[in-house]
Amino acid sequence: MTAYIVRRLIQAIPLLLGIVTLVFVIVHAAPGDPTAMYVHPSVSPEVIEQMRENWGLDRPIHIQYLRWLRSFLTGDLGVSLTQNRPIVSILAERIPNTLILSGTSLVLIFAIGIAIGIVQAVRQHSTLDHTLTLSALFIYSMPSFWLGLMLILVFAHKAHLLDWWPAALTFPASGMTSVDYDLMSGWGKLGDRLHHLVLPSIALGVASAASVARYMRSSMLEVIRQDYIRTARAKGLPERTVILKHALKNALLPIITLLGLYLPFLFSGAVLVEYVFAWPGMGRTIVDAISQRDYPLVMATSFIFAVMVVIANLIADILYAVVDPRIRYE
């Protein structure tokens, strides 16, 4: 297994290199460069030139690429041109934040999605099934940022203005922690973090949860048709065991594949949700970096995104092997 993981990671290298190269080309092909943010009446053209030189932007593009590649391969991600910080420290700050948000959403997506999917499959064609299907469809069809705004409007904005609104249903609209986070006790900190996670993770995850529920439902229905379910029933097992033991584990297989597919999707959605909820994550970093032409930061964040996706896929494959004994990696 270890050998397999190592091999997979090694195989991912050309993929990742391909991605960063592609990004490098796109970013450099686009008009504008990072000095543009210093185009300001108090900034003289000489200063701009000086900066270009400091940043190595005066070299031909292939030299820039090779230079970047060399330092990248030696583990030096460089310094952000706009934030003037080592990119490593920016990433060290942002990646956990993104992982917290995506991770929570992921748990939410799969927990809720799978549960609802099972209920729907078991009660196929019931009113409950139809209601859930339709509401899932509606939720799935909402733009995530729109949903986020609506959530803020209701659970943060109106909630504070309405006297009768229960305090338990009032949530912070932005940020990862309260301002007084540092002053809280251990449990208080955890509670505060969770409290701040509620709205963004719902905005980010609920659409995907709806879609997981749909997949889970059809996967479950598919599995329920299988011969071995009939075998299990013929053995006289209670329906609960049949569904939760025999059907569930099999039905989870295609869902695990989704896991790998959803992470890039989550990261994408996170870009918008991070804006709405002022979440200091990777999504905003990359968008800002792109708009400011912060080349090294764009490259590094793209790389990290791609790495996260590769790892997500790897995890999905490993999980797959855990659930499905037919799959063995050596």
Binding site: Y4, R7, R8, Q11, E330
Partner: protein, 341 residues
């Protein structure tokens, strides 16, 4: 019924039939499939699907290729038609080595050798009507001249016992047996001399199976076809074959005239196989030769005689487990691969 197809088919036959000797000759045919592991595709092993098979098929005869699943009989059929390229060995068709064909040669070969498949559902394109399937074949090979295609199609359908109206229907509108007839019509459309029938009746119910078997026999007579009949069902073999080749783990273990084989099988495997086939007439009192164990995996064939781990032969010894027995000619045109015969 002396139709256009009959006439032309026989005319071409007489024109083409200049060479003598077997229509198909197979020599030392080997097909190994690499087993690739990981995403790098390193070759971890090889499946010995076909491991040195030689035989010949005479014009107008039916050679049955019999064996249990995984013995390589289907692969052998594909190799004969050059749908797969052999790892080693050669296929000689009507005196010409198939591997020497260029694109045009191969195209001509495709007109002379055809295949009928097992699966009546998977072998027809669900999105094409029967007519368009046949029309395509006729057009691609330039068999149909302008205006004659429709007539040829209805003749073909008629030949396999379908109605001319069926041309405008889609495969799913037919029963299993009828689809198998369509598959046969498609193979016959190019007026081949040689047909590989790959388990053509295995998926059919008994009553329909009989219809298709009879049809195959009739067509063979009418178009002077040569069959390689691949099947796992010995009872069907007895009904249709002239000669039988029994395969085990990628090798032919016995090759004989059909009646002789059924009368007195030589190879221990053939004996066991024959005894295992249930027969409604024999009742429960038949003596069965019980085999133990499972067929070895073709990815990991045992050394020596491939059958030796299961062989019930009392004289089984060291040689069996070390030396691969060659297919030897015995009396009366029989061939068998066993050290103990």
């Amino acid at each position: 019924m002396a139709s256009d197809i009959d006439r032309r088919a026989s005319a071409e036959r007489s024109a083409a039939g200049t060479t003598h000797g077997p229509l198909v000759l197979v020599e030392g045919l080997v097909k190994h499939f690499p087993i690739r592991t990981g995403l790098l595709g390193r070759e971890a092993g090889r499946v010995h699907a076909v491991d040195g098979v030689s035989f010949e098929i005479q014009r107008g005869e039916t050679l049955a290729l019999v064996g249990e699943s995984g013995c390589g009989k289907t692969t052998t059929g594909r190799l004969l038609l050059w749908l797969l390229e052999p790892t080693a060995g050669r296929v000689v068709f009507d005196g010409q080595d198939v591997s020497s064909f260029d694109r045009l040669g191969l195209r001509a070969f495709r007109r002379r050798a055809q295949i009928i498949f097992q699966d009546p559902f998977g072998s027809l394109n669900p999105r094409m009507t029967v007519g368009s399937v046949l029309r395509e074949v006729l057009q691609v090979h330039g068999i149909a001249r302008r205006g004659t295609a429709e007539r040829q199609i209805s003749e073909l359908l008629d030949a396999v016992g379908l109605h001319a109206d069926d041309a405008s229907k889609y495969p799913h509108e037919f029963s299993g047996g009828q689809r198998q007839r369509i598959g046969i019509a498609r193979a016959l459309a190019v007026q081949p001399e040689f047909v590989v029938a790959d388990e053509p009746v295995s998926a059919l119910d008994v009553s329909v199976q009989a219809q298709v078997l009879n049809l195959l026999v009739d067509l063979q007579r009418r178009f002077s076809l040569t069959y390689l009949f691949i099947t796992h069902d010995l009872s069907v073999v007895r009904q249709i074959a002239d000669r039988v080749a029994v395969m085990y783990l990628g090798r032919v273990v016995e090759l004989r005239d059909c009646e002789a084989l059924f009368q007195g099988p030589l190879h221990p495997y053939t004996q066991a196989l024959l005894s295992a086939v249930p027969d409604p007439e024999a009742g429960t009192d038949r003596q069965r030769i019980a085999l133990s164990g499972e067929v070895a995996s073709p990815a990991n064939p045992p050394p020596g005689c491939p059958f030796h781990p299961r062989c019930p032969h009392p004289g089984k010894d060291e040689t069996c487990s070390c030396v691969v027995p060659p297919l030897r000619a015995l009396n009366g045109g029989a061939q068998a691969a066993c050290h103990k015969i």
